[in-house]
Subunit: 222 residues, 2 copies
């Protein structure tokens, strides 16, 4: 009924890989995400399979079972709620909270996470703009697009990040680009796919292709 932290971490990795790619997660992909060896992954897949948390066929990759999917969803819910707590209540910045949340997500007890949810005002998104599933595992969807897909003249509001690294989050802070910042694409440079954008206070920024491919915006109908 309760799973080890290692098992939970594997389930989360499998979830995010097979979600993103839309297909079974390979041993190597899991090993890369977990920063471990393929041999260790194979071992763990055998164990998770015995517990019916995953569907596993040798050499064929792996997908989550119904119960594995539930565990992974609950884990993500906890991770993101704790991140909201750390930022909203304790005053941490969005680049400081991930490692703490990696630990806090393993604290067991439905009552705790549900009270936390209530205390935080049932937030639907975490400090990085990622959706928080509710107690029944339902996700809130909202339309968003990578900034790199906008055309000249398009306007949008920053809603999330694809890259969650400290380096990127701190870069955005330096540029004054927090969640909710509004942007208008002034000019596109085909040479390097960089964009010039206008943001709050009529400030202009030039954002590289890499930045634009890691920043999500909700487009505004002008």
């Amino acid at each position: 009924m309760t799973h080890s932290q290692a098992e939970e971490n594997y389930l989360k990795a499998i979830f995010s890989i097979s979600e993103k790619e839309g297909k079974a997660a390979s041993t190597n992909a899991i090993a890369a995400m977990m920063q471990t060896t393929a041999a260790s992954v194979t071992d763990m897949l055998r164990r998770l399979s015995e517990k019916n948390l995953i569907a596993y066929e040798k050499y064929r990759g792996v997908t989550l079972s119904e119960s594995g999917h539930k565990v992974a969803t609950a884990l993500i819910r906890k991770h993101r709620l704790w991140e909201v707590f750390l930022v909203d209540k304790l005053g941490f910045t969005w680049d400081e909270v991930h490692e703490f949340a990696e630990q806090l997500e393993h604290v067991q007890g439905d009552a705790l996470v549900n009270r936390l949810d209530q205390f935080l005002g049932n937030p639907k998104f975490d400090p990085h703009g990622d959706p928080i599933p509710d107690a029944q595992g339902r996700w809130t969807h909202r339309p968003q697009a990578l900034l790199s897909t906008l055309q000249t003249g398009d306007r949008g509001v920053v809603t999330g990040v694809e890259d969650h690294t400290t380096a990127f989050l701190q870069y955005l802070d330096q540029q004054g680009l927090a969640l909710g910042a509004s942007l208008e694409v002034i000019e596109r440079f085909p040479y390097d796919h960089s964009l010039r954008v206008r943001t709050h206070g009529d400030r202009e920024l030039v954002l590289s292709e890499k930045v634009c491919q890691n920043l999500y915006v909700r487009t505004l109908n002008t």
Copy 2:
């Protein structure tokens, strides 16, 4: 520099045993507190000794080293701060929080516990009346005595409990005896060492010897 949850739990057990008894902790006492076997304890004592977290001589019992004492104190600080959070912020009752705190106390990161401390208003006592050491490991002391030591006519205010079990805490709730409740000893029954006391609203209660030996009060000079 960082220790496993198992190591931390042993250090905490050794702390509370050698603190309470005022002498070295025996293998059996540790085993009883940890709900494990003496063989497991001996194994762990060897490991903790190698890491210089305890002073250990075979057959002679064990005491914490300076660094072991620091780890144990930090752990107790975290445990009790999280308990304050769970009661004050999330609305749990004092009998519901211990198991969650047992998990939360192992979350690593000085920044986290110190921000939590600040968020909670730097509380000096936890929901059970136990003192919370500060970031430097300093304890707040306050005079308190077991209710069983009071004489007829003495008055006091409930400051803490010796027994932390759910059963006792819920019994106190039923009797309306929370921290801060004021009491006056009306009558002592030598036969079974029970007490009749008057509490708020001039309500009278009869408290057994067992209850009186598990309830701390600060005596009021009348």
